[in-house]
Amino acid sequence: MATPASVHAHAPQGFIRRYIFSLDHKVIGLQYFFLALTAVFVGMFLSLLMRIHLIWPTAVLPLIGTIQPETYLSLLTMHGTIMVFFVLTTAPQGGFGNYFLPIQIGAPDMAFPVLNMLSFWTTFVGFVVIICAFFVTGGAPLHGWTGYAPLSALPSAGPGEQLGADLWITSIAIFCIASLMGALNFLTTTLDMRAKGMTLMRMPLTVWSWFITAILGLLAFGVLLSAGILLLMDRNLGTSFYVPLVVVNGVVLGHKGGSPLLWQHLFWFFGHPEVYIAILPGMGVTSQILSTFSRKPIFGYRAMVYAMLSIGFLGFMVWGHHMFMSGMSPYSAFAFSILTMCIGVPSAIKTFNWLGTMYKGRIRFQTPMLYAIGFVSLFVSGGLSGPFLAQPVLDIQLHDTYFVVGHFHLIMGVAAIFGIFAATYYWFPKMFGRMMNETLGKLHFFITLAGTYAIFMPMHYLGMAGQTRRYSQFTEVAYQTKLIPLQTFMTYAAFVTIAAQFIFVINLFWSMFKGPKASDNPWEATTLEWTTATPPPHDNFGGVTPVVNHGPYEYGVPGAARDYVMQTDPATAATH
């Protein structure tokens, strides 16, 4: 049931106001989406260069030449930074969150549309600034995406540590400000603009995930901003927050007394919640899709909500597990270790609830569902190595090896990317009014699933065998040389996986213009975005204010005319 409104907001006219500096959350969501799509291809290209260099370190590449070891470190730094900030943070929250959060709660727009536009364009400026780092004297920085001091704090520490590092820090600071604006908007919108009947416990799990992610962003990005300002001061104003007494090339620098560990504490206080900022929206969309395509209510809705809240809360208490190598007190390490393993409990609750949702469901194996199942698979595969690394005694052995690279790529990288793919295939009909090609989608899924496992699972074995990460080549150390065949296999797997992404891009753009027309509710789903036109009008509901009478996952309801009840369907006796 919906109530008609007397006023129907009209979309602004003119290309600039409609598509460039738009205040419409849907347009802004698409802007974020395409920014992230651009960024992911930049990041992927950088990873391809790294994989090529690891296998053929002396190869001469067209236009690039031979990749030098310091260039490898620059590629590593920029790959990590672009992927973490401009893909994994931008696409799920900025892209899909912006587009669908207001619609899923029955609001006509975000709470602060101008702030929303500013948030996107600030993010865009941040992306441009970081790309500029490639083209300045000395090139891009080489201190890794974690920016560990004192390497990141000393312009004389390496070729990329001059202007390139300043641009890197500036870009991150800009991104922090953009993310804070976005988080503020998400929280206010969720708390204040829900339609009648959309109580907190009727919100789709996607909305919960964006909401909790926004809380994490609000509390975490401010800390990174502070840390970045201190780093800029150390680099440019002669302060010594992070830099102890240092000698570079025989020259004693003016710094003294600072602590590199101070940077690590501040960075990881942001850095670990950032992991959940990347993965929580993926959890939300996976829950949404598993329920829809299993034609069953989500198993344990409240438990899912509380599990996400627990994960978000615990995420702020475990940053020290990234620093077991720093010589911290064993008592501190013990505390961080126990707290880290505690996160396994809500994570397991979520996993079993996903399996419970699918159990005995009438599963429709369409592409969004495949990616949601893939997300669960990767979440388990990547997550299970987490408790290993949470043990200080094991982490000290594995910390600087490929084991960690394999772990965080599976859990934070690929799983989150699968969440983005699932969301794209699921919401594409609503966003563009057409269906994506199923055959191409499935082909893309199976190659990507096999390819990513082929790339990242062997990394665990390499790590256990002692292969060090961040090394640009392994040809100079005897025991490392023996592991090169596995690295070669991973590089070929990367070729295939990256090639498969062009299937996705072709499917995306071809379907945008030539795909079959989508109905308003092609997946027979229940949440509010499927009650409105495809694509949604400027004010989302065409001058109608939705009224919510049902929960978000009412599938297989006994006695219902269809096997699903939409959130706006008239209330029944069972509803009350």
């Binding site: 708390l191 204040d192 509390l219 401010g222 800390v223 840390a227 003016g254 003294k256 600072g258 939705p546």
Partner: protein, 249 residues
């Protein structure tokens, strides 16, 4: 000319009494959106939303200053290696703060917080009476109002000027941002606070010029209200920063 005689004591509006607000929270009140059912802007909802957004923004500001404080505490306790004595020594150093100047600045900011509160209540009163004033031929008598907003802007800019003088005084006493870690944090925290206060001043200037820009009085009231709470927070934050720099040396 007719004269409006209110049936309720309008003098009480904005004098400590909360202005009428729509029901809070989403989900059950059916408001949907911003004036979705009437076509007119729902300023009450906008105000509530803006206050909520402000709380979120202040949480972030808190995190920034908490992280800077924790960095200061950690850095203060760190030893550095001294080659001359071949031992570890503390290099925290001392800073001779211009106490009198900073105390005056503190007083100016606290007074500005009071004037800001008067400005906020004045704006709330004006917004509440706006519909009455719009009735042709209705007059509410003496319409001149005390320029609390202008005074607050003046005091805010005075505070910033005072801080500028304080930084100059620190320079004159030989303390720069890189003199020692203590001085680094003095400049960092005071400048960070000043930058945040600048945001408040800009918002107030916008509010002060709202009538020139023909903005509705209700929209101006929202800006003044939000800036007022932000301003009060900045005053409290300054007291905290001043105490931190002064007493945790």
């Amino acid at each position: 000319m007719a004269t409006y005689t209110p049936s309720t004591p309008i003098d009480h509006i904005g004098h400590g009494h909360k202005p009428p607000m729509p029901p809070a929270g989403g989900g059950d009140d059916g408001r949907g959106g911003d004036g979705a059912n009437s076509g007119a802007p729902n300023y009450g909802a906008r105000l509530r939303r803006a206050r909520l957004g402000l709380i979120c923004g202040l949480a972030t500001v808190c995190m920034v200053f908490i992280s800077l404080t924790s960095a200061r505490i950690v850095r203060r306790g760190l030893p550095t290696f001294d080659g001359a004595s071949n031992s570890y020594v503390r290099d925290w150093g001392r800073v001779d703060l211009p106490w009198l100047l900073l105390a005056i600045n503190t007083a100016v900011l606290l007074v500005s917080s009071v004037t800001m509160e008067f400005a906020r209540r004045q704006a709330a009163r004006e917004a509440a009476l706006a519909p009455v004033k719009s009735i042709p031929g209705v007059s509410l008598g003496d319409e001149r109002s005390f320029p609390w907003l202008g005074i607050t802007v003046f005091l805010g800019i005075s505070f910033l000027a005072g801080q500028w003088l304080a930084w100059g005084e620190l320079h004159a006493r030989g303390f720069f941002v890189d003199t020692n870690p203590n001085s680094s944090f003095v400049f960092l925290l005071t400048i960070a606070h000043a930058v945040h206060l600048c945001g408040g001043v800009i918002a107030l200037l916008w509010a002060a010029s709202a009538s020139l820009l023909r903005k509705p009085v209700e929209a101006r009231r929202i800006v003044v209200d939000i800036t007022a709470w932000y301003w009060h927070f900045m005053a409290v934050l300054w007291v905290y920063v001043f105490a931190l720099l002064g007493f945790a040396r």
